[in-house]
Point group: C3
Chain length 313, copies 3
């Protein structure tokens, strides 16, 4: 693999999934693979799980790590071409990417959307410009529109917990007080389209995800109907797509509760974390044995390790 930004960069999803599951079994098996190599981690936005799990994965492979909160510890970055840089941005992404490529063998980048202008966000400017100007493989640590390390960890978790060959997986919108990116939802849908599952997506009107991600999924505004017989319930908030980046619905009847889970086929509950308790999901569901959220977070280490293994080569 040359880069890791979406499922479309993965030539063989099942092989990568198996590689990640193998990393979980024998994490230290390749601890000399990264010798004398450096992984650069650039954060334009906060990160807990991604930061820690990717560092853990890198240590399993013997990679050196250089981590930066680039906007805070470095300089503000310009992404536009041809601009006269007389504002507050001190460095152009051309130089930033070119320079950092010389210090690192692999580059991870996290950059959230602005949630103001859909078209701009969906061009995924920061990540795409790093790819354009970097001379080393680039890895998304969550971009404006996708979170592929999370999605691979989610796929691992479903693989480990599924009871049938082709489970029913429901991705459901859930309420949240603040506008959030659509990246996790987009990315999960995109990956599920490559997996052997029945994917149903449910959300209120105005929250429909872009069809480039939802593909062949069944889409409905009726959450209860969607949840019927579900094997996995993946809850996630995202901001409106119609009124882009806004919170146009705070209806708490969308919160995943015990009553909602009773509609499922003894379904498992999934969320990428961090999760707002009693907004997105009630305590009794999150604290029940049906919740897989810690397993998902744990799998982040091994999804990152499998991806880094491929990018090292």
């Amino acid at each position: 693999m040359e880069k890791y930004t979406s499922v479309h960069d993965v030539p063989d999803v099942t092989a990568l999934l198996n590689e990640a599951l193998q990393c979980k079994k024998t994490p230290w098996e390749w601890e000399n693979l990264g010798k004398h190599k450096t992984l650069g981690l650039l954060f334009f936005n906060p990160s807990l799980r991604t930061r820690m799990s990717t560092q853990k994965a890198a240590s399993h492979l013997g990679l050196q790590i250089i981590s930066m909160n680039i906007d805070k510890d470095g300089w503000k970055i310009e992404t536009e071409e041809g601009v006269i840089m007389d504002g507050d941005k001190a460095e152009h992404i051309k130089e930033a990417a070119g320079v950092i490529s010389q210090y690192c063998d692999i580059l991870g980048v996290r950059s959230f959307p602005g949630l103001i202008n859909k078209q701009m966000d969906y061009q995924d400017e920061v990540l795409q410009n790093f790819i354009k100007y970097a001379s080393v493989p680039v890895l998304s640590l969550e971009s404006a529109i996708r979170h592929p390390l999370q999605s691979l960890a989610d796929l691992m978790t479903i693989e480990e917990h599924k009871q049938t060959d082709r489970p029913k997986v429901v991705l459901t919108w859930a309420p949240h007080p603040k506008p959030l990116p659509q990246a996790v939802g987009n990315s999960f849908a995109e990956w599920m389209n490559q997996a052997d599952v029945d994917l149903v997506i449910t959300c209120p009107e105005g929250y429909e995800l872009d069809s480039q991600f939802t593909g062949n999924a069944t889409i409905t505004h009726n959450q209860n109907e969607a949840l019927e017989g579900a094997d996995f319930v993946y809850a996630k908030n995202w901001s409106s797509t119609a009124s882009y980046g806004q919170v146009i619905n705070t209806d708490r009847s969308w919160t995943i509760s015990k009553e909602k889970m009773a509609l499922t086929n003894q379904g498992k509950f999934m969320h990428c974390l961090p999760v707002r308790r009693n907004m997105v999901v009630t305590d009794d569901v999150l604290d029940s044995p049906a919740s897989l959220v810690l397993e998902q977070a744990n799998n982040r280490t091994y999804s990152a390790q499998a991806v880094l293994k491929r990018l090292i080569k």
Copy 2:
């Protein structure tokens, strides 16, 4: 040891003290002990000595380190149970602790008090909740009410510099422009109660430390009387306990000066640092050979190393 939050977690204080002194002699003797293990360091508050000395200690033991300024680099953490998370806190401590436990083998946590509500602070909520929800040993890097790595380093310093079997140790309040936690004072008193010393504590009215920490110490509001014949003078500011968290006294006659030190038995001066010069202590004392502040800071590396050694096992 399962955790390290106070002297009460230590089954044998003298043995731990000796272990720390041994670490100082042969720091690299156990450099493979931490192989393939990761120490997570979570900072809710600033840290210089603790951050650097604990990293140094971890490197002596071959531990990997993942360090986070959790509120700045990650998400704001909710600690209350049953709350509807519709405010500014994006992640509950249940998930944070559970997730981070999967990436780390030992977890260090620094969290200062709010200094608004004594009862809340003295429940030591952040640290206790990390212990409750983490699945790995937790280590205090200074909590709302105690600073046990500092206290062990202080005990080492007294052991190295005492001239008599049972020295007189005076913990004295000193003035400071801003309200500070009571953690260092509490913790020092608590540890001295377990050591072979005569402990005297002196402070202005309204600054009396909680008896759960001061134990059998002699307590007086007369600083000069307290200092008479002292072998060690441990100066420290803390905010009022009576008018909780407030500065109700700025009397500079409490500042430790050469005249004050003349009352002692050629006493040594101690402070945990950072110290406000000419508020807490005058330049001539701090810059004199009687000052042990750098020795105390140096011992932080070895107190941390001894504790980490035990927690690894």
Copy 3:
């Protein structure tokens, strides 16, 4: 070497240059040299290249790294002597330097000027106080008035690209929207005075660098005249020296453009980065083969490595 703060700390500039070029050829040749040793990196200001390249250099030498954004992650530092510390600065540099020296074997410090008071800035207080109170070798990661790791990397780059034994090197001021330090300009001039080059410095009136740095250089306010026949054009903005720390000239005719470069002897373009595109230099120059900016940044790793190698001993 005992410290690395300017070219005057280097007994043999050519030998250090050759050592840096050798590090570039065989970076891992000395990877056990730093075993059991720790490099502390203290940042009072933002840093991208310096942060990453110095970490990379340290890893080549097997040094442990402890990195701190000291004002943000630690405490505000007082540098004045004899002051009553009742303001917002919690720790004196005497203690900070003394303490950190005990955790580190080499100490790197970055501290920019205030650009308010020239006399104060030019005393280079933070760096000089670290040297005064530290008990280990100190390394400048850019101080108020010099940037010697950058200058050594620049010297390497000129050495690698020069076509004649004694090239003509032009240091030219260039416009910028904000007031910047004079450190890079000062330091570059100072190093070029030690090298086998013809140094010409050109800047608008009121921007003349201090003669302690410019030495024997030819100085002119006529940029076009200066550029004639140049082999290397080093562009850099700095704030006014006459109206200290202010922007008194924003004349974009000083921007380095293709037309300006046409005056040179097929000159190479240099800049330390980050660079404001179309303010300091136009896109067509920066994106042309004549630009050496990425090479300069790459050489930062090896200039740092050569310096660290010497300071370890």
